[in-house]
C-alpha cells in the first residue's frame, strides 16, 4: 500500500513535516476499498458481463459450434416470434408459474400465521422443519415425485384407483405434467416463503394481536386485518422473486420426462422457456437461436424487475 501511496500522491512539500499527509492516507484507504470489492467485479465481468454481451452478439448469427458462423442480423428473432414452440414454451412457463406460486404463497401465509401463534408448543421444531424441503436437492425431489405420480406404479394413481378413478398419465398430459412440476416447486419453496413471512410477522408486536383478541376479533379476523396487511411488502417481494424464479424453471421439467428430457415429453407439453433455450443451444447446437431465446428471456426478466421497482416505491409512498 505504501508504494501505491507514494506513487499516487504528489510529493509533500518539505515545509510540511508529516510524510504521509491525511489526504494521502485517505486516498490509500479509498483505493483499498476498491481492492476489496475488486474480486467480485472482476468475476462479474468475466462470468456475468462477458457472457451476457456475448449472448447478444451470438444471437445475431447462424452459429454452428463446429462449423461456420454466419451473420444473419435479426433473423433469429423473427424466426422465434413465428415459432409455435417458443409460444408453447412461454405458455407452459406461465401456466406452471401460476400453478406453483398461488398455492405456495397462500399456504405459506396460513402456515406463518399459525407458527406465529403464541401458544404453539415446540414452535422451534416446526419452524425448522419447514426448511427441510428447501435443503433437499431438486434432483432427489424430482425423482421421488416422478415416482409418486407415475402412471403405472405411482402411489397417487393407486390412491385414485381405490376410489375408482382411472389412472392419470401425469407426465404425458399437459395439465398433469404442469401440476406435477408445480407440486414439486410448491414443496420445495413453501417452507422458505413461510419463514420469510414468519420473520416479518414477528416484528409485529404481540400486543396488537392480544388487543385484537380482547376486542373480540376471531382467528380469521386477526389473520385478515393484522397478519396480511403487515406482510404486504414481503408478500410483494415473494411474488416478484417467485415470478423471476418461475420464468427460469429448468431442472424439474428436465428430470420428470426421462425419455425426452429436452422437450419434456412427446409434444413439448411441459417444456419451459429455459428448457427450450437449452434444447436449441445444447441439444440442436443452434447457438444463435438459443441465444435469441436467452435475450427474449432477459427482456421478460427486465420487465418483471421494472414492475418490482414500481410496486416497491408505491409501498414506501403508502407509509
Amino acid at each position: 500500500m505504501t508504494a501505491v501511496t507514494a506513487t499516487l500522491t504528489p510529493a509533500p512539500s518539505a515545509a510540511l513535516p508529516p510524510p504521509a499527509s491525511p489526504k494521502g492516507r485517505r486516498l490509500g484507504e479509498r483505493l483499498s476499498a476498491y481492492a476489496y470489492i475488486a474480486p467480485f467485479f472482476v468475476l462479474f465481468a468475466v462470468f456475468g458481463l462477458f457472457p451476457f454481451a456475448f449472448t447478444f452478439y451470438v444471437a445475431l448469427f447462424d452459429w454452428n459450434p463446429i462449423g461456420d458462423q454466419v451473420f444473419i442480423g435479426a433473423d433469429n428473432f423473427t424466426r422465434m416470434f413465428a415459432d409455435p414452440r417458443f409460444w408453447n414454451a412461454a405458455g407452459n412457463t406461465v401456466s406452471i408459474w401460476f400453478l406453483s406460486t398461488v398455492p405456495q404463497l397462500l399456504l405459506a401465509l396460513v402456515l406463518a400465521h399459525v407458527l406465529n401463534h403464541a401458544r404453539l408448543r415446540f414452535a422451534l421444531f416446526f419452524r425448522m422443519s419447514m426448511l427441510i424441503p428447501y435443503v433437499t436437492s431438486v434432483a432427489a425431489t424430482a425423482i421421488v415425485f416422478a415416482q409418486l405420480f407415475d402412471r403405472d406404479y405411482g402411489l397417487l394413481n393407486w390412491l385414485l384407483g381405490l376410489v375408482g378413478v382411472e389412472p392419470v398419465d401425469f407426465v404425458q398430459s399437459t395439465w398433469g405434467s404442469h401440476l406435477l412440476i408445480a407440486t414439486m416447486v410448491v414443496w420445495r419453496w413453501f417452507g422458505y416463503t413461510t419463514l420469510l413471512y414468519l420473520a416479518s410477522l414477528q416484528s409485529v408486536p404481540r400486543a396488537v394481536f392480544e388487543a385484537a383478541a380482547i376486542d373480540g376479533a376471531g382467528p380469521w379476523q386477526r389473520f385478515r386485518h393484522i397478519t396480511v396487511p403487515s406482510l404486504r411488502p414481503v408478500i410483494i417481494f415473494t411474488v416478484v422473486t417467485s415470478t423471476i424464479g418461475g420464468l427460469q424453471i429448468f431442472t424439474e421439467p428436465l428430470l420428470i420426462a426421462s425419455g425426452a428430457p429436452l422437450t419434456c415429453g412427446a409434444v413439448r407439453q411441459c417444456q419451459t422457456l429455459t428448457l427450450f433455450l437449452y434444447e436449441q443451444g445444447f441439444g440442436q447446437f443452434e447457438f444463435g437461436y438459443g441465444s435469441a431465446i436467452g435475450v427474449a428471456l432477459f427482456a421478460m426478466v427486465v420487465v418483471i424487475a421494472a414492475v418490482n421497482y414500481l410496486l416497491s416505491t408505491r409501498i414506501k409512498a403508502d407509509r
Binding site: F47, G48, F50, P51, F52, F54, T55, V58, N64, P65, I66, G67, R79, D83, P84, R85, D150, R151, D152, Y153, D169, Q172, S173, T174, T241, I244, Q248, S258, G259, A260, T263, G265, A266, V267, Q269, L273, T274, L277, Y278, G281, F282, G283, Q284, F285, F287, G290, S291, I293, G294, V295, L297, F298, V301, A305
Partner: protein
Amino acid sequence: MTFRPPLLLLAAAFALATACTPGGGGGGGGGDDKTFDFWSFSAINQKLTVDAYQAKHPDIQIKLTEVGTSTETAQSLTTALAGGKVPDLVLIQGDNLPQFVEQPQNFVDLRTLGADDIKGDYLDWVWKQSVAKGGEVLGVPTDVGGMAVAYRTDLFAAAGLPTDRESVSALWPTWDAFIETGKRYKQATGKAFTDNAATSVFYQAVNQVSEKYYSEDRKLVYADNPQVKAAFDLGIKAATAGITAGQSSFESAWSAGMAQGQYAAVSAPSWMLNSIRSTAPDTKGKWDIATIPGGSGNWGGSYLAIPKRAKNPQAAWNYIKEMQSPQGQLEHFTRVGALPSTPSVYQDAGLVDAKDPFFTDAPTGKIYTDSLLGLKPFYIGPDSAAIGQEFLNAITNVEQSGGNPDTAWDDAVRNIKTAIGE
C-alpha cells in the same frame, strides 16, 4: 434476482473462447503413443472389446469413457470439438454421423492413415455414409443394425399362439399381420402385446424403405415420400389398435415393464439384444427371435472416428484397424452380439452357427445377416435424426396423450418444418 438464462450460454461462450486459442490441445506435443482416450456410449459393452485389445497389447493404455446415450455422446463430442479436450477415438452412432460428416475439418481424414487399404472389407453402403463431400473418410463402421422381432415364448404359449420361431415368423409376413397378431394376443390375454408403436412398429418399418427422409441426391423428401407415410400410418394403426403398453423405449418404466414381462414382443435390431439382456436379466431363456415383418432393412450401426486435435491418432488408428477388421468384428459379435459390417464373415461358421442362449438358442447371426440381404440402402442426412424424432413424437402423442390420429401426419410434418427450419 440473478440473471440466469444467458449464464447457461456461459459454458458455450467459454468453450468458444478457448476454441480461438491457438494450439489448444493440438499439436500432439508430449503425448506418448502408448495411451489414448476413447469415448463410447454406455450399454453396448465396449469395455469387453477394450479389455480384449489390452490383453493382446499389454503396453497400450486405453482410457475408456462411457459418456451416456448415443445422443449424449454426440452432444459431448460437439462441445469438445468446439473447444474442449477431445478424445483420440470416439464412437458415433449412425444417425448422429451426418452432422459431423458435414463438417469434415474437425476430424482426421482416415485416408491419411490408410483407410483406402481396408475399404474393401466393409459393406459399401455403410462405408459411404462416413465419406464427406470432398472424399474425406471420417469413420470406420463398427456394426450394422439388422432387424428382427424378439418375443416371449411363455407369453405366446399362454395366449395360444405358436412358440417356435418359424411358426411365429409365419404369423407376420407383413406389418398388418403383425398388428392383427397383436389384436389376437390382446383378445386372449387382455394384456398389451408390444411396448410401443413408435419404435417397435414405426422405427422398424421406416428403416425398411429404399428412400427415407432424403432422396438419393440428398434432397429432403420426407413429406412427400409414400414409403415414409406408409410406415407412419402403420405406427398410427398400431397406436390406435390398443395393442401397446405405451411405454417409450429406454425410459425407466419401459425397463420395469420389460423385467415384469409386460411385452410379448419388442422390436429387436441386433444391438437391442444387449439392451434386453441387461434390462431384464431374469427373463433369460424366455425369449426367442422371429424375422421382421415386411422383409429386410437396417436400423442403426456405429462408426469410430478420430478428432483432428487428437493427441495420439496413430494409436487410435491401430486400435480401429485391429478391432474393426473382419476377424475383429466377428470376435466382437461373439462377445456382445453386434452384427459385423464386414460381409466376408457373413458365411463364417462362427457367425452362422452362433446361438444365443438368452434367446432360446436363436441363431442370431443367421437371422440378422439374412435381414440385410436384398437391402436397398438409403441416404441419411444431417437432419435425419431430428425428423425421425418428430415423427416418433407424433405417434407417441396419439398413443399416450390422446392426440388426434387423423391430424398426426400433418402435425408431424409441420413440426419437422419448424424444427429443421426449412
